[in-house]
């Protein structure tokens, strides 16, 4: 009997554990929290800062709700009917609570998901400057390719005739913009979704099934005797193969032919097979070069790979490649790093020749985002140049400044312009 009760208790405990596991796993986490409560106390015109839950945890119930009444006097009478409501001080600049009070539960500043860098999320920012997506290329005819939206670059000619490209820094501007999708239908029925805030009534066992003991029990009988396992007396003879693979060497010689010309290969210098083809080519080139058809064009530091023609050398060009480096530093700044639709932003692009050579044909190109519209006649540049505005098929604008005079070493310039945020 004691064993029956033991089994019954064991079954009850297992069933209860099973029900608890299903209940805990199926309920969302928020539903297990205690319900939020509102405590709007009377005769409390202002809430002390210490009473406001500035460190409210997500799992803790909201103890007090701050409720700011409108300043209009006409609403005061209505407020009396609903009871005095606590106030919180608001910041005059931002419209939100002061630094001591956060409008919601505290969250870490500049929070981002693990292993994702700031700024985050990117769909709330408008970027300006840099060369973010495709790499910008400038052809010798100074045509620009792969200039994406939001890119800002400067390209210039160095003294040795090369075209250098330098992107600016990238400016993240917090400027979220919202839109909406509307669905118009008829209200045929009213639906309401109830969700449990807590579960405090666990299931009870309605009935207990009594398990009677078995009347017949099969007794396990030990083996009366053991059957001995004898080892086999015979072993299979594993003989090795008598036949040996007969490999016949090739009667023909190697197909690799060494170059006939040249004396280097006839010496006892050990040359690897992989080097022979290259040496043969160079050897042939050297023999050709020492022939009557001598080199007609000589370029310093370059070996001729093909010599044709039988004309004698007529003229010699001497090129001097200037030493040093051409380098242009460019920075882009914004008057504000956050903007609402309708705001105006002022951008400044500053550039400076920080190399040891003057640069020429300095051109600054700024492809504005579609969220930004250049305000006409607001640009200014403190160096001589020309300004152009180009439209694109995507209704974004490309601003371009061409500096006419070369930029000497240490010389700088700056450009400012204003944009309207869409």
């Amino acid at each position: 009997m004691r064993t029956k009760h033991h089994i019954l208790h064991l079954k009850c405990a297992s069933l209860a554990t099973l029900i608890c596991c299903f209940t805990a796993c199926s309920l969302p986490q928020q539903q297990l929290r205690p319900p939020a409560t509102i405590q709007i106390s009377d005769n409390s015109p202002a809430v002390p800062l210490s009473t406001v839950p500035t460190t409210t945890h997500a799992n803790s119930p909201i103890q007090q709700i701050s409720y700011q009444q409108p300043p209009a006097a006409s609403n005061a009478a209505t407020a009396v009917k609903t009871g005095p409501i606590a106030r919180i001080p608001l910041s005059a600049e931002t419209g939100g609570p002061t630094s001591n009070i956060h409008p919601g539960a505290p969250y870490p500043a500049n929070w981002s998901p693990p292993q994702i860098s700031q700024p985050w999320p990117q769909d709330e920012y408008v970027y300006q400057g840099g060369d973010s997506r495709q790499q910008v290329n400038v052809a010798p005819d100074r045509s620009i390719h792969n200039l994406d939206e939001e890119d800002t670059i400067v390209h210039y000619h160095t003294r040795d005739g090369k075209i250098a490209i330098q992107p600016t820094n990238q400016i993240p501007i917090y400027a979220p913009r919202f839109s909406s999708v509307r669905h118009i239908g008829g209200a045929s029925q009213y639906l309401y979704r109830d969700h449990a805030s807590a579960v405090d009534n666990p299931l009870k066992i309605a009935a207990a099934q009594e398990n009677l003991g078995s009347e017949q029990v099969l007794q396990r009988i030990q083996a009366g005797r053991n059957i001995s396992n004898r080892r086999t007396g015979l072993y299979r003879d594993e003989s090795k193969a008598r036949d040996v693979e007969y490999r016949t060497a090739s009667l023909e010689g190697s197909q690799r032919q060494r170059p006939e010309n040249g004396t280097l290969l006839n010496t006892r210098v050990r040359i690897q097979n992989s080097q022979e083809a290259r040496l043969s080519k160079q050897n042939a080139t050297a023999i050709t070069a020492t022939d009557e058809e001598t080199v007609k064009v000589y370029v310093k530091d370059f070996m001729p790979y093909k010599v044709t023609g039988q004309n004698q050398m007529r003229s010699t060009f001497h090129y001097e490649i200037a030493e040093g480096k051409s380098r242009l530093e460019i920075k882009k700044t914004s008057s504000n790093l956050n903007a609402l639709p309708g705001d105006e932003l002022e951008f400044m692009i500053a550039f400076k020749n920080v190399g040891d050579q003057p640069v020429s044909n300095v051109t600054i190109v700024d492809h504005l985002s579609r969220r930004l519209v250049y305000i006409e006649d607001t640009q200014s540049c403190d160096v001589a140049g020309q300004f152009f505005v180009n439209d694109t098929v995507r209704e974004s604008l490309i601003l371009r400044w061409e500096i006419t005079e070369p930029l000497a070493v240490g010389e700088s310039g700056s450009i400012t312009f204003r944009c309207h945020v869409r």
């Binding site: 419209g95 870490p108 792969n146 994406d148 669905h183 639906l191 790093l337 540049c381 505005v389 439209d391």
Partner: protein, 279 residues
Amino acid sequence: MKRLLQNLKLSPPLYVALICITTVFAIPTAAQEPSSLHDRHFRDSGLHPPGQVGQGFLSRGGPIPGYFQPIEVRAPQGTQLAFVANGQFGPSLLAPTKAGMLIGAVYRMKITHIPDLEGVEVFPSIEVINRIYPPRGLEAKFAIPIHLSQREIEMAVQGFFVTRVIYLEDPTNPIPADESIVRQRTLDIRYTEDPLHVADKLGRPVAILRIGSRSPQLNAQTNRFMFSSPPIQIIATPVLPNNNTSASITPVGFTKATSVNVAPMNRTDARPVSFSFPR
């Protein structure tokens, strides 16, 4: 049975633990979803009952539970609105008004003093399903705008049910048009389409506005019409200072442009991304 247990030699705690382990491993297997649902962020429909989408989003993690997302409700000039607080409608506020709302909760409003509709009251609801992450201290400035247009209010009075999903635009592919303060840009979809799924393709849905002509049926016990009066924070709307100043944007080592020494602006024709400038 007794002999069976004795032969198994399982103690009661070990037996219970075995059941728990089996249950824990069985639940995720049963909860696997079909792969066809992975291409969308929201499995729910925007036409589902209020509260279902937001409650489902709370399980995604992040600093979402307990955060009061500021919302700016804009309405035609002169319209007054009142939020539910502590089981009853609070004082009427003149639109536009900002309020901090919990994510996943549903807030009932009362709209009165509607222009050209004197004496008419509508009771729309707002459900915040996601939040935004403005810089610290600018939460109220960058509130999510929700416009109540005159046309939508009139349609609600006429018996239509308007569901509007507000979403954050994708900045890499924005609509090149100015944002209107009076009217929010709205895309009307067909009756058979789901506004939440359409908004999910265009950007990041953050809130759902529902407007109907349902008259309140107040029940103090269930408090369904008030959606159980979730906590709310009303944020005053001060006059923001003009922060578009050009001061202190000059980087170190540079001087600000002072003289205009360039040629007049020359606007050329439209060009693709790869182009050659005129010489």
